[in-house]
C-alpha cells in the first residue's frame, strides 16, 4: 500500500490554483525528490499532506487515511518556516517530542545535537537562524517515522551541514519509510534519490526514477530539470 497517495487533488486560494488535479502515489522505502520552481505547488502539496491545509477537491491519503491524528503520528515534517517556540531549549523540545511522538528516538537526537556541537540548554531565542534550522532538523530526523516530509531541508545551511543532513537521510534509511525532499538544489540531493517528481504550475509533469532519466536522456536530473524548466 502506498504511504502517500493523491487522487485528483486540487487546492485553490481564491482565484489562484495552487494544485491542479494531482494524482500520485509514493511507496514505502523510497527517497523522493519533489522538484519544481518557486511557486510551483511543492509547499502546498506538503502542507496538504500534513493537514495544515484542506483540499479544495480530490483527496490525499497517508497510510490509507485522510490527514488526522493517525497520520500525524507517523509523519515527520520539516517546515520551511521557523516554528520552534522561542522560550524553549533543545532539552525541553526533546521532552516535548518524547511526550507526543511514540517514535521519537531521544538517544539519537542527543547524539546529533552533540555531533553538531549544539548546546541543549540554549534558548531558541538566543540561537542564530542556522542553529534553529539545525535543531528543527535534528528533532524531525530523530523520529522513526513512516513518512518524512522535508520542505527545503538544505536551503539555508552551510556545505558541511548539508553533507551531514544527506548522510543522516541515508543512514536513517528504512525500507518501511518514505522520504520526500522538496528542493531546488537538485545536484546536491540527486545521488540520494530513488525517484523524482517534477511539478510545475500545480501539475505533476513527471514521476520517474533518477537512473531512468540518466539512462534515457544521457544527462543528470539536474541538467534535465534545467532543460525542462528553461526560461
Amino acid at each position: 500500500m502506498p504511504i502517500l497517495e493523491c487522487r485528483e487533488l486540487s487546492k485553490r486560494f481564491g482565484r489562484t490554483t495552487a494544485l491542479d488535479r494531482v494524482s500520485l502515489s509514493i511507496e514505502p522505502g523510497r527517497v523522493i525528490g519533489l522538484l519544481g520552481p518557486n511557486g510551483s505547488g511543492k509547499t502546498t502539496l506538503i502542507k496538504l499532506a500534513n493537514g495544515l491545509l484542506t483540499p479544495s477537491e480530490g483527496e490525499i491519503l497517508i497510510d490509507g487515511e485522510a490527514p488526522g491524528p493517525h497520520s500525524k503520528a507517523i509523519v515527520s515534517y520539516l517546515s520551511d518556516k521557523e516554528y520552534l517556540p522561542e522560550w524553549m531549549t533543545p532539552k525541553q523540545l526533546m521532552d516535548f517530542f518524547q511526550d507526543f511522538y511514540a517514535d521519537f528516538d531521544r538517544a539519537r537526537a542527543e547524539e546529533m545535537l552533540a555531533r553538531l556541537g549544539l548546546d541543549p540548554a540554549q534558548k531558541v531565542k538566543q540561537m542564530s537562524k542556522g542553529t534553529r534550522e539545525k535543531v528543527q532538523l535534528i528533532l524531525v530526523m530523530s523520529r522513526r517515522a513512516k513518512l518524512y516530509l522535508l520542505d527545503e531541508p538544505i536551503g539555508g545551511v552551510d556545505p558541511a551541514t548539508r553533507d551531514y543532513i544527506l548522510d543522516t537521510i541515508i543512514r536513517n534509511y528504512n525500507p518501511e519509510a518514505a522520504v520526500v525532499i522538496s528542493t531546488h538544489l537538485i545536484a546536491d540531493v540527486e545521488p540520494v534519490l530513488d525517484e523524482v517528481l517534477f511539478i510545475q504550475n500545480g501539475q505533476i509533469l513527471l514521476q520517474s526514477s533518477v537512473d531512468s532519466i540518466r539512462e534515457e536522456k544521457g544527462m543528470s536530473v539536474d541538467q534535465y530539470f534545467r532543460e525542462v524548466f528553461r526560461c
Binding site: 544527506l166 541515508i170 543512514r171 545521488p191 533518477v210 537512473d211 540518466r214 544521457g218
Partner: protein, 118 residues
Amino acid sequence: MEWIFRNDLPIYSQLVEQIRLAIVSGVFTPGMRLSSVRDMAAEAGVNPNTLQRALQELERQGLVYSQRTNGRFVTEDANVIDQNKRALAQGQLAAFLDAMKKLGYERAEIIALLEEEA
C-alpha cells in the same frame, strides 16, 4: 575509496563499475567483507536502494557473494577476478586503439610507441 560520479550515466551502472574496478585492482581484496549497504551508501553518498541493486548485479556476475547472516563478501575465486580484470583491460585497450587509429597510427607504429614509452 573515493567515489566520483559522472552526470551522463545512471548512478547504478557507475556503482557497478567502480566496485568492479575496486575488486580487480585489489582495493577490495578477495574474501573481504563489504560494509553494510547503509554504511557503504553513506560513504558513497548514494541512495541505498541504488547501491543494493548494484550489489545484486555484482552478485549475479559472481564478483561478490552473500552469506545469509554475515553479509556480503568479495569473491575468492581468482578466475572470476582475472576474467573481469581482463575484460576491463580489453575494454581500455579497445578504446585506446580506437583513439590511436583516429590519430592515424597503424598497429605497428602503436606497438613501437608503446615500447618507446616503457
